[in-house]
Every structure is written in structure tokens, then in C-alpha cells.
């Protein structure tokens, strides 16, 4: 065992990591996003994706959607740590509710001519991606869907002349009539 000198034993945890999507309702005030992000960096948690925008202007409420990975114990910690921040109203684990819809929007720029260009357009059609900009040698596609679908579309565009991608990150909402 090759460990640095100390009075304690470093434990290696072997719990498998899980990916969870958290919706966080916060007071929209200066620094609130910095607080949330600082918590993740300061405590060594992962952020896979982060989406934030004001959702109720009159009440000054913003909704942050965070996709994070960690062991079940770490995910539980993240939720508690978020929940105890002063401007945080609620934290909902969308993955745990199993009744949520997740969507992401991506804009995908592809450059090419001839057969590649036709193929890109054909695949875009199959994925219900829209053309939102075009030149004689390029397209920008807009595609909406869950993360897997977007990843798959991007992979398909790669050999066809993928130039760059801009993604919004995941937004999530619960199914059914109730709000969070």
C-alpha cells in the first residue's frame, strides 16, 4: 500500500457512481450562481451540465438544473448541501422521482460539399433537426432532445464535416400537473 504518512487510513470507496439531474429553485440575487458552483468546486463534486435562467421574474426566482455524478452517499450530500444554502428554496432530484422530462438544445455547425452535404441534411431530417443557417458549403442545425440523442447526432456529423457545437445543457421538468 503506497500511502502518504498520516495517523489515519485513506479509504478507497468502491460504490458505483450514478448520474443524477437536480432541479434547484433559488432566489435570483447577485452571486447565487457563484454560491452554487463554488459549493461544487469547493467540495469536489462533479458538474456534468448546468443550466440556469430566471423563470419567475416577479418573484425573483431562478431555476438551476444540474447534472452531476457521484456515489449515492455523495449525491445525498450534494442535495443537503444545496438545500441549506440561504437563497435556495427547493432541491428536487429529478432522477429519483423517475417522472421527469429532460431536454437539451444544441446548435451544430457542419461544413462540407457534395455527398457529405446531402447526407448531413438527410440525417438532420431523420433526427428532426432544423436548418437555421446555411451557406453553399455549410449548415447550422438546431436539434432538441435528451442528451443521448444529441450525442448520437453529433457523432454522426463528425465524419461529415463537424466544425463546432454549442449546447445549452440539460433542462428538466416533472411530468404531471404538479410543480416543484
Amino acid at each position: 500500500m503506497n500511502q502518504p504518512a498520516s495517523a489515519y487510513f485513506i479509504e478507497e470507496r468502491h460504490d458505483p457512481n450514478e448520474t443524477h439531474t437536480l432541479s434547484v429553485l433559488v432566489q435570483n440575487e447577485p452571486g447565487v450562481l457563484a454560491r452554487v458552483i463554488g459549493l461544487f468546486s469547493g467540495r469536489g463534486y462533479n458538474i456534468e451540465s448546468l443550466t440556469v435562467s430566471e423563470t419567475e421574474a416577479q418573484k425573483h426566482l431562478s431555476r438551476i438544473t444540474i447534472v452531476t455524478t457521484g456515489t449515492p452517499m455523495v449525491i445525498e450530500q450534494i442535495k443537503h448541501q444545496l438545500d441549506r444554502m440561504i437563497p435556495v428554496y427547493r432541491v428536487v432530484d429529478m432522477t429519483q422521482t423517475k417522472r421527469s422530462i429532460e431536454r437539451e438544445l444544441a446548435m451544430v455547425k457542419v461544413r462540407g460539399q457534395g455527398e457529405h452535404r446531402v447526407e448531413a441534411l438527410r440525417l438532420a431530417d431523420a433526427f428532426r433537426a432544423r436548418v437555421i443557417d446555411a451557406t453553399t458549403e455549410s449548415f447550422v442545425f438546431e436539434i432538441t432532445g435528451n442528451t443521448d440523442k444529441i450525442n448520437q447526432f453529433i457523432d454522426l456529423m463528425r465524419p461529415l464535416g463537424l466544425v463546432e457545437v454549442s449546447r445549452t445543457g440539460v433542462a428538466a421538468i416533472g411530468r404531471g400537473p404538479e410543480g416543484m
Binding site: M1, Q3, P4, A5, S6, A7, Y8, F9, I10, E11, V26, Q27, P30, G31, A34, R35, G38, G42, M73, E76, Q77, H80, Q81, D83, R84, M85, I86, P87, V88, Y89
Partner: protein, 591 residues
Amino acid sequence: MSDKSHDPNQMTGAAMIVRALIDHGVTDIFGYPGGAVLPIYDEIFQQSEVQHILVRHEQGAGHAAEGYARSTGKPGVALVTSGPGATNMVTPLTDALMDSIPLVCISGQVPTHLIGNDAFQECDTVGITRPCTKHNWLVRDVNDLAKVLHEAFYVATTGRPGPVLVDVPKDVQFATGTYHPPRKSDVHRSYAPRVKGDATQIRKAVSLLANAKRPVIYSGGGVINSGPEATKLLRELVEVTGFPITSTLMGLGAYPASGKNWLGMLGMHGTYEANMTMHDCDVMLCVGARFDDRITGRVDAFSPGSKKIHIDIDPSSINKNIRVDVPIIGDCGNILGDILQVFKAEAKKPDIKAWWQQIAQWRARNSLYYKKSNDIILPQHAIQSLFEATRGRDTYITTEVGQHQMWAAQFFGFEEPHRWMTSGGLGTMGYGLPAAVGVQVAHPDSLVIDIAGDASVQMTMQEMSTAVQYELPIKIFILNNQYMGMVRQWQQLLHGNRLSHSYSEALPDFVKLAEAYGGVGIQVHKPSDLDGAIQEMISVKRPVLFDCRVAALENCFPMIPSGKAHNEMLLPEQANDEATAKAFAGGKALV
């Protein structure tokens, strides 16, 4: 402006700050002036309700406010200027966050139009202090100031207490606006700490306690933070159940050290009986403690056979380090009251005679044993003598961090809460001297002693000057072994006895130093002179630096060595070179 001038609630931002302090019952604040807080200092000058204690370094203001808070249960208040004033507060703020101390820091900031321009003495104070406060605010409009100040006091003192910071730009201090006294709507609607424990969980806890064969109560600083009622209820619970009780460093005094169920402190330098009891128990009741790594040792071998009940006001403390079976979220005073009520109504004292017999065997190992000497003062002996000399007096103890801190925790018996001020979570060397200043301000007629080490005490030595200025007769009891003792101990145990930079070379003459500050210096070398010298120290009504020359190479035992669990402690009589080498070989790790 002129038609509003008769409205008593129209005032400058600076006046609002002083007014808010008065409205929150603050009588003493600790601070250091500078360009960005001059309007506030001008207001302080023109009133007499709030006494300002001028420290010599902002870190001193923070620790003094911590000592004040910890010894009174009221929030401590510090006032500092922008830039370096604020950055010097980072250590006390972090210290207060780790130890859950209610602290309100007001910092000056450059005028709003200069923020972001790298102005003189500008820094991003709210950015820097965000991770080391419970919450912080930058106030850009004087009409928000009253609300923010009231909220700051509320957040600092409710739920799990902690430090807060309000950053006030200089133009906001000059601007005139409307003040209002504290009211409920001042607080974020999203902030609502839970006080009352869940009734079902409380029943589950009582059922575990009532059927326990080998129970233990493990209490922490949360009991003290909760207030005198929680302490009373904890003592009653021990009485009603007959259970053994141990405590963390932060929790000392909640249960009296002279109480018959007291096992002593637990953890890395806790007693053998406390750690063995924790390891072998079948039901553990954790009240207001957080399973810190200094308590648990090796996590996967921590109290393997027990059902664990955890009372904490902070949900993020639950299942953070150790999985517990019955978490109860809420104020520990409130929950202890409920547990007692249900226990008294539905359960009877379990028969745990066999368990106490087992504990008596562990106790007989006498894990705090040390060999007294007639030639040289042993540090443990010095603490015991100090304890004996102050017994029955109205005494408050603060400490720095290191071996002397652990010996103080082991050998000084605390009978009441709020009497023991130490930096537990952060482990801040230099905490004790300014903390003693704060305690003495709060308790001018009490005996306030900082048990210190020769290295720690030099980190904030300048606050001697504060003590002299305000005639605060604090006693700095230095266990002088001419080493950073705990660093050296680890180097001996874990780093092949290579004593890298742990020797205190060029130590000052503490007696002359005391005199230079206008205090009193006492030095003692011989065990036979110790008691007399301590009496002299106590009788002097001025600040004293007490240079107690102790055995240089004494180490702090018992100790849980590397890679070991609670039941594998290294006891003092085993701590010869060979056994020590063996105990610390192999497993090595964190900090």
C-alpha cells in the same frame, strides 16, 4: 431632505449600522479602522451604547468575537475595513464556520462606482468570503441596509449558527436612507431551519435506547450551541438512563467532568475507555456532533456493531461520514426534551451493569497516566496544577492548537458549558490569545486563561497590547517546550524522527516581552515552584505571560495510530520506541 430630517428613521448608512447593533443587543464589538469604514467609526465615536475594542490585527478581532460568542451564547461582532482588513478576517470566519460560532462581520468596501476598478484597498470581499461564511451580502443601496443587517443577525444565530459578513461600500455608509427595526419579513423566505424533531424518529430512538445493552451517548458542540436548556436536558437524560457519556473536543462541559457517567473525551487523543466504549457499543446516541475524522478514526472500523441515532440541526451532517440508522433533524435541546418525555413515559432504565463493569476494566488501564518528575515540569502536571488552582473559581479557558490543547482537553475538567473556547474544526494556531481577550470583555470579573504553546502564542502575540489597553487581566499560560510539539510528535511517529523546522529557535524572552507590552511576566522551571507561581499569576490583576518551561520531548498520548480503529489505541505505557514504530508502520494517510 430637510422635510425628512425630523423622521428619526432617516439616517446615514453608517448610523444604521450602529443603530442595528444596538437593536440586536450588541454591547461590545471588536474592530480595526481604515479608509473604507471611517464613516462607521465616526458614528461609533459619537455614542456610548456600543463599546468598541481596538485590536492590533483584524484576525484578532475575529477570534476575540468568537471567544465572546462562545462564552456568552450571543453573536460576536467584528468591524473591519476593505481589502487587507477583510482578507485578514478569512481565518476567523473559516474557524467560526467549522465550529458553528455565530459571528457577524461588517466590512467596509470601496465606493460602489469604484468596485471592479482595482481601487486602493479593494478586494472581492463577498467572493473571497463566500465559502467561509454561512451567508454574505454586498449592500449597494442604503435602503436595503437595515433589512440585510437584521437578516445577517438572524442567519448567524439561528439553525446551525455560523459566521456572516455584510460588505458595505463607503458611499452607502454616507448615503441617507430609511432605517427600520428588526421584523420578520427581513429574512429570506427560503431560510427556515428545522427545530422540532420528527415524532416517529424520536419513538424509534427511544425504543433503541430502552433496549440497549451496551449504550453510549456521544455529545458535541451542538448541545452547547443549543443553549442552557439542552445542557440541562442532556444531563437529565444521562441521569434517567444511566448511560455512559463521552464528548467531542467542542462539547466539553455540557456534561460535568466530575459526573459519574463521564468517560472523558473521545477521538484521536481521547481516553481509552471512551474510545473502547464507542467501538463496542450496541446503541450510540450522537447529539450535536458530526462524526469528524478526528473522532471516527478509520471509518470502516468505526463502532461496527452499533445502531446509531444522530441528532443534528443541519441535514447535511447526516450520513456525511458515517451511515446512521435513526437520523433526527432539529434542535438538540428540543429533541432531547421529546426523547426524555417519551422515555420517561414508556421505558425504564435498562440494566447495563455488565456494560459498566466492562467500562471499569477499560478505565483501569488509566490511559492518561504520565510519570511525574521532581526535576522537570511535565506538561500534563502543569495543566493539572492549573486546574487544581482554579477549581471552584469562575474560570474560562481558551487554547491555541497543538499538544497543549489536547493536554488541556484531557486534564482540565469542565463542569459547565461555555467555559471552554478552542479551535476544533479548523485548528487555528493563534486562536487562544485573542479569544481570551473576547472572553474577558464579556466577563470582566472572571478568571480567563489561555492555555498556549510557545509556537502558537507567537501567531497573535500582538493582542497582548489590546489586553493591556483595555485592562483585561487575561492569563497566557504557555507550556513552553521550545517545539511545535504536535508537529514534532508526528515527525517522530510518522516521518522517521526528521524534525524538519519544528524547533522553536530564537524564542523571545517571554518575561521581558510581557513587560515590554506593559503586562507581567512569570517564568517557572521547577515543579516545586509551579503552584506558587500559578497562585501569583491568578492574583495579579493584569495581563500575564506565564512561561512554564516543560519537558521538551513529552508526547501526547493516548493516540489512535495510523490505519487503526478505536479499539487499537496506543497507550502511554506502550509508547516506547519499538511499540510506537510498530503501531505506526504500514498504514499511513490523510492528515
